[in-house]
Symmetry: C2
Subunit: 85 residues, 2 copies
């Protein structure tokens, strides 16, 4: 995503890129509510999330492994046993 | 994420899981607006997106590579040259 879109992401700016991410979440919610295939929408949400990360220099893979790589960060179990849903 | 959270995700249900994703997007937007570190928030958005995908049987990696694996799906270039931002 960085190779493909960083130039455009920088030109657009951070705030507008976050807004695009919000838009794509809306499209995903729409697909879910209407029970339509949502593969493209999930890919778009992920793509815009990557764009946001690229603009604020976050390595999404590292950030995700840091928080969730050892299972649930709350109960510490690989398969979460927290009671709250 | 499937191993850690699928049981809880199923118990919670799809609509509420999408709503959690929306909440996390809000927290990410908040961090961006306040220029606070956003690593955890991006990880949370990704985690909830994975939970949504798990509930609707979408392989996010495959869906993302299918759409973006060859660069920009609109202009066809590895480094996007589309004019619209």
């Amino acid at each position: 995503m960085r190779r493909t879109y960083l130039r455009r992401d920088k030109k657009r700016g951070l705030d507008a890129t976050v807004l695009w991410l919000v838009c794509e979440i809306g499209e995903l919610a729409d697909a879910v509510l209407k029970e339509k295939p949502a593969g493209k929408e999930t890919a778009n949400v992920f793509a815009w999330l990557c764009s946001v990360c690229n603009l604020i220099d976050i390595d999404l893979e590292s950030a995700s492994f840091k928080k969730y790589g050892r299972g649930c960060p709350k109960c510490g179990q690989e398969a979460c046993i927290c009671q709250d849903v």
